[in-house]
């Protein structure tokens, strides 16, 4: 399993051709208390960089962009009742959706954990 990060503060953990996508702990900290998460439709086809989900917080509604292209296989149903999981467990239980990758080469354009860490420090 390898975890990659985007400049828009999404993470994707990839195992085989299946990726799990969430927003980073830094992102949830910037957004503040999350009040609602709008998730993509299961089975929908998404293209890298598409706005596929919206995270509402007390401060703002923010688009979440999928870091890879593919088909959404599953969304995190627990977020309907407990959107705060994105705050408390951004890296784990607060994942947003799972996607089967249609082009694994897209991962090459993302950052690894160390690169993301220095990216955040540069902001």
């Amino acid at each position: 399993m390898t975890r990659y990060f985007s400049e828009d503060h999404e993470w994707i953990e990839v195992e085989g051709d299946l990726g799990t996508v969430g927003i980073t702990d830094y992102a949830q900290g910037q957004l503040g208390d999350i009040t609602f998460v709008e998730l993509p439709a299961e089975g929908s086809t998404v293209g890298k960089g598409d706005s596929v989900s919206v995270v509402d917080s007390v401060k703002a509604a923010s688009d979440v962009y999928t870091p890879v292209s593919g088909t959404v296989t599953e969304v995190n149903g627990a977020l309907a009742d407990t959107p705060e999981l994105v705050n408390t467990e951004a890296d784990t239980g607060g994942w947003l959706f799972r996607v089967t990758l249609s082009d694994a080469a897209e991962l090459g354009g993302l950052m690894d954990e160390a690169a993301y860490k220095s990216y955040v420090e540069s902001l």
């Binding site: 910037q30 208390d33 009040t35 609602f36 007390v58 401060k59 703002a60 923010s62 959107p83 705060e84």
Partner: protein, 532 residues
């Protein structure tokens, strides 16, 4: 944050100010506590004298026959009057003090406007009255339309849209109709990051695909990025000018020319027209459509004062597609309403109708009163004073609160600050809540999104220098407390009718329906609403 109301349900006023005791009534001096109307009322009370309801039910209601009492509060007239008057005393309004909500232009509503709007000939007209009996009212609409056209340098105006966002929709539907008339299918609308939040929503609602244009580090539209996106699929661009960073877009003309050259149209969000009225004519900048919020620039009341009005001025290119109905002056000099599409008067291309009737008479009367009582020179001074006041706030606070675009030149009608540099754990929200303790309505917070912890302050031209100094003193004091890590700011407001409410819980588990007294059947328990 233990001082925050933890349960979310029925917060109480608690001890107000320095009070070290509680009162029997729950009121504190003349700061009056107030229950919900449902809790005050009972079914056996009524404000009017009705016949006993002892008749047999009307036949034929069948399943619509009510099986239980309707659940109305049941209040006498004095109870009703006191209820709303008490609530109004816990509110804050422009008539009580400065209301520096950025992007909203909360200026004083002159009382002359109200006096004119209440004249029976305007206040009591009915939209289905014969035209012959409302010629004066139609003339008000026509005169206002003429002023709006003159002030914006545009070809025509659609008066019927009911509000800013409704006006945006009107403008985009005109663009769609113009494209249809050209036989073109363009489906993309470009929206810069510095635009109003309603713009992308309007474009999506009108069936367009929205593409975002980044802002430059100076807080303006990235013109190169915008030009790169132009093409045969672009229907138009929606630009807010002055933008939501409080800055004028000096390259508007260049943007307009480029969009037109690519076959698109320019929509301008006129929400911030207050900063340029009498100084700049959007028509000269290549704008094809722009809504005008009469409740902002032209001082009609925001909310509460009745429905809004968002007339849309249109360029020559879009004018033929304006929605029905509208008021026009015929060749004979007589004013009449155009209610139907007709070729003889050149209205065959109207895209349709957005509302049943002719617009918002009360707002039209107020706006025209404002315009006529100011005159052209007065309107110009409105813009100048609004910009002067905003720059005074900007330059008076930028040493304590970072102003991200302070180096981009003078701001327009609003000053933008960020919460960078406050002590660890302190943010925009603490400053906003602190302003309530200081007796001000907070500024706009966390918008625009391009600035972290944004604080958008729009003082408007109707605040005096003494009033601005008082506000600036408060803002500076709060910034100093937040920089020094004053923990008491975390639990502000301390002196308002309610302490800091749990906004997260309110958003996650909203209680929207009154279901009865706490503790009795039908009432949500604290655990049900997420409290403890």
């Amino acid at each position: 944050m233990s001082d925050i109301n933890a349960g979310g349900w029925r917060p109480s006023m608690g001890e107000a100010g320095d009070a070290k005791f509680t009162t029997f009534s729950g009121d504190y001096g003349l700061m009056l506590e107030e229950a919900l109307s449902f809790e005050l009322g009972s079914a056996d009370k009524c404000g009017v004298d009705l016949d006993p309801a002892d008749r047999a039910p009307v036949a034929g209601l069948n399943k619509f026959l009510r099986k239980a009492a309707p659940g109305l509060p049941g209040l006498t007239e004095p109870e009703t009057v006191r209820h709303y008057t008490r609530l109004s005393r816990q509110n804050y309004a422009i008539d009580l003090g400065p209301f520096p909500l950025g992007s909203c232009t909360m200026k004083h509503n002159p009382r002359l406007n109200e006096k004119m709007a209440r004249l029976p000939g305007f206040a009591d007209v009915h939209p289905m009255q014969p035209q012959k009996t409302i010629e004066g009212a139609l003339e008000v609409i026509e005169q206002l339309a003429d002023w709006l056209i003159t002030l914006t340098g545009m070809a025509s105006v659609a008066m019927s849209p009911k509000a800013g966002a409704h006006g945006e929709l009107c403008g985009l539907l005109c663009i769609r109709a113009a494209l249809d008339a050209r036989g073109e299918k363009r489906d993309v609308v470009l929206v810069p990051e510095s635009a109003h939040g309603t713009n992308p929503a309007t474009a999506a609602f009108a069936g367009f695909k929205v593409e975002s244009i980044p802002a430059t580090p100076e807080g303006r539209v990235d013109v190169a990025a915008l030009k790169a996106k132009l093409g045969p699929n672009v229907a138009g661009v929606m630009i807010t000018n002055p933008n939501t960073c409080g800055l004028f877009e000096p390259e508007m003309k260049e943007i307009g020319d480029a969009v037109h050259a690519a076959g698109g149209y320019v929509y301008c969000d006129g929400a911030n027209f207050n900063a340029i009225v009498g100084k700049v004519r959007p028509g000269d900048l290549g704008v094809d459509a722009m809504h005008i919020n009469l409740h902002k620039t032209f001082s009609t009341p925001h909310g509460g004062g009745g429905p809004g009005a968002g007339p849309v001025v249109l360029s020559e290119a879009l004018a033929p597609f304006a929605p029905l109905p509208f008021v026009t002056r015929g060749a004979d000099g007589a004013i009449h309403l155009v209610e139907e599409e007709n070729a003889s008067e050149g209205h065959a291309q109207a895209f349709g109708r957005m509302v049943a009737f002719h617009g918002q008479m009360g707002m039209f009367t107020r706006a025209l009163t404002y315009i006529l009582s100011h005159g052209a020179d007065g309107l110009r001074q409105v813009a100048e004073d609004a910009v002067l006041n905003a720059n005074y706030v900007l330059r008076s606070c930028e040493d304590l609160l970072p102003a991200p675009f302070a180096d981009s030149g003078p701001c327009m009608h609003e000053a933008l600050f960020s919460d960078a540099g406050l002590a660890e754990g302190f943010s925009t929200l603490d400053i906003a809540k602190g302003l309530i303790d200081e007796g001000f309505h907070p500024m706009t917070v966390y918008f625009p999104l391009v600035v972290k912890g944004a604080m958008l302050v729009e003082p408007t031209e109707t605040e005096s220098k003494a009033g601005l100094d008082r506000f600036i003193g408060s803002l500076r004091s709060l910034a100093q407390r937040a920089k020094a890590g004053d923990q008491s700011l975390h639990s502000a407001p301390h002196f308002a009718p309610r302490r800091r409410l749990d906004e997260t819980l309110a958003a996650r588990k909203p209680v929207l329906v009154w279901k009865g007294e706490p503790g009795i059947p039908g009432t949500p328990s604290l655990s049900e609403i997420g409290g403890s």
